[in-house]
Amino acid sequence: MAQWIDACATDDIDEEDLIRFDHDGRTFAIYRSPDDEFFCTDGLCTHEQVHLVDGLVMDYVIECPKHNGQFDYRTGEAKRAPVCVNLATYPAKVENGRVLIEV
């Protein structure tokens, strides 16, 4: 059952950047958008299971470090080939300077 997990402090993530967060055998990516909102997706690209943490965040798009596939990290929508399968997203919220994700 999904539950809210304390993932990190808001300051752990630079603006327009992401971190990797592993929990319970799964790996997630948590993003801080240019307008200071937080989002959470699966941590691995849907194309070849590469960790997205080494990728590049530009505005609301994460580009995979390996083959340049792109996703909108707010919705998980696949934006550019070679990725064609959307990325799973999870609710994220901020409480008392902490980022919580519901996974």
């Binding site: 630079d14 327009e16 070849e48 590469v50 960790h51 080494d54 990728g55 590049l56 580009e63 470090p65 390996k66 083959h67 340049n68 080939a81 070679p82 064609c84």
Partner: protein
């Protein structure tokens, strides 16, 4: 109703087909491929997993169907009849076109020495299956060519085979557009793992069980692989009277001199601003040119402009780069943990290329940003400062 016909069902051809549809083209789109498999990605072929060669489709039947793209697999085009705007097919019939895109790719060069046919090549999924099927625990492998494919193969095979030797005609491995310090570091990693890399050697003859060097030395070989580059498939275009020059000559819009015929990807030679023709063989180039060709087939006016990007994974090390990386770097950025990015600029101080080597994907982000900065004039001191967030440079540029 002749529509768009694309000859070549690889990364570039498929990409162009989807791009043409996405650009609003409503006519028929037909993609013709010689191979019988559903179009697949080639980069994974040199990176098999425990279960064997990875077959990764570029697209699905559903996606093709959703975009009304007709795929004709296992069919070869034997002639372009420009006067009548139609193709002759290996299956005997003809196929008319309104616009034609040639994405015929390239084929591996074979060894020129006597007995060169004993060396396998590595291009298709069948080639990959053959090579890995032949490579077992007692196999002695000789790879000819210390380029990216030769070394990626060596990295995979050293873990499975008794002995792996890489023979290179040039003075060093990765002599084509990989900075020498990175090439040396990769070669050192290969040697640590037991690969025997020998540069500056010429072949006298190959047999079914050996490779003999010019100096007379015999290398006992159970499996020889030629990884000495590719030749663009331009025969069809040449026979149709189109201009070729190590590739089918096209302008920046990827048009040949025939306004109905385009060429893109490995088979194309694209006119650069300096008037010369440039030929690229990377996966990302196939995508980028496919996008441009598709847009223009649909009536657009897109233009291809480099620089193109590449990557290679060998053992734990990831190499990435784009553009020109020859000569002395303008700046070297030490990312720590053995990761380094080198930046290259032209005489005017504009960034024209970068290459990085480090564990896994450590250099990826900086290379991506550097590629977006191509053409910008940057302070080398800032590029060299790993504490300087490259994104700030991008925003300032």
């Amino acid at each position: 109703m002749a529509g768009i016909v694309i000859v070549g069902a690889g990364e570039c051809g498929l990409r162009a087909a989807f791009a043409a549809r996405n650009a609003g083209y409503t006519g028929e789109i037909t993609v013709i491929g010689t191979e019988t498999a559903l179009p697949y990605e080639r980069p994974p072929l040199s990176k098999p997993d425990a279960a064997g060669v990875i077959e990764k489709p570029i697209t699905s039947k559903e996606a093709l169907s959703a975009c009304a793209i007709a795929l004709r697999s296992g069919v070869t085009v034997t002639e372009i009849d420009r006067a009548n705007r139609q193709l002759q097919l290996s299956v005997g019939s003809a196929l008319g076109y309104d616009k034609l895109l040639l994405t015929t790719g390239a084929r591996p060069r074979t060894l020129a020495c006597p007995g060169g046919e004993h060396a396998r090549v590595f291009r298709t999924i069948e080639d990959a299956r053959e090579v890995f099927r032949s490579a077992g625990a007692s196999t002695r492998v000789t790879i000819v060519g210390a380029g990216l494919i030769g070394l990626e193969l060596a990295a995979v095979l050293i873990g499975r085979c008794a002995k792996v030797t890489v023979l290179e005609a040039g003075p060093r491995p990765l002599g084509r557009n990989v900075p020498e310090p990175f090439a040396m570091r990769l070669a050192e990693r290969h040697r640590q793992r037991g690969v025997n890399i020998r540069c500056g050697v010429a072949l006298r003859v190959c047999t079914a069980f050996s490779v003999v060097l010019e100096n007379g030395q015999t290398i006992d070989t159970d499996l020889a692989v030629a990884a000495i580059g590719v030749t663009p498939n331009i025969d069809l275009a040449e026979a149709a009277g189109l201009t070729t020059q190590n590739g089918i000559c096209v302008d920046a819009g990827l048009r040949t001199e025939d306004p109905r015929i385009f060429a893109a990807g490995d088979c194309a030679a694209v006119q650069a601003p300096d008037g010369g023709y440039r030929h690229y063989e990377t996966w990302q180039n196939a995508q980028a040119q496919g996008d441009v060709a598709g847009a223009n087939l649909a009536g657009g006016d897109a233009r291809f402009s480099g620089p193109v990007w590449f990557w290679s994974d060998q053992y734990d090390l990831g190499l990435q780069g784009f553009g020109e990386t020859e000569g002395d770097p303008a700046a070297i950025r030490d990312l720590g943990n053995g990761a380094e990015v080198r930046f290259y600029s032209n005489d005017a101080g504009q960034l024209i290329g970068a290459a990085g080597l480090g564990p896994s994907n450590a250099v990826s982000r900086d290379i991506k940003i550097a590629q977006r900065l191509a053409g910008a004039t940057l302070d080398p001191a800032l590029l060299a400062d790993a504490n300087q967030n490259m994104k700030k440079l991008l925003r300032a540029a």
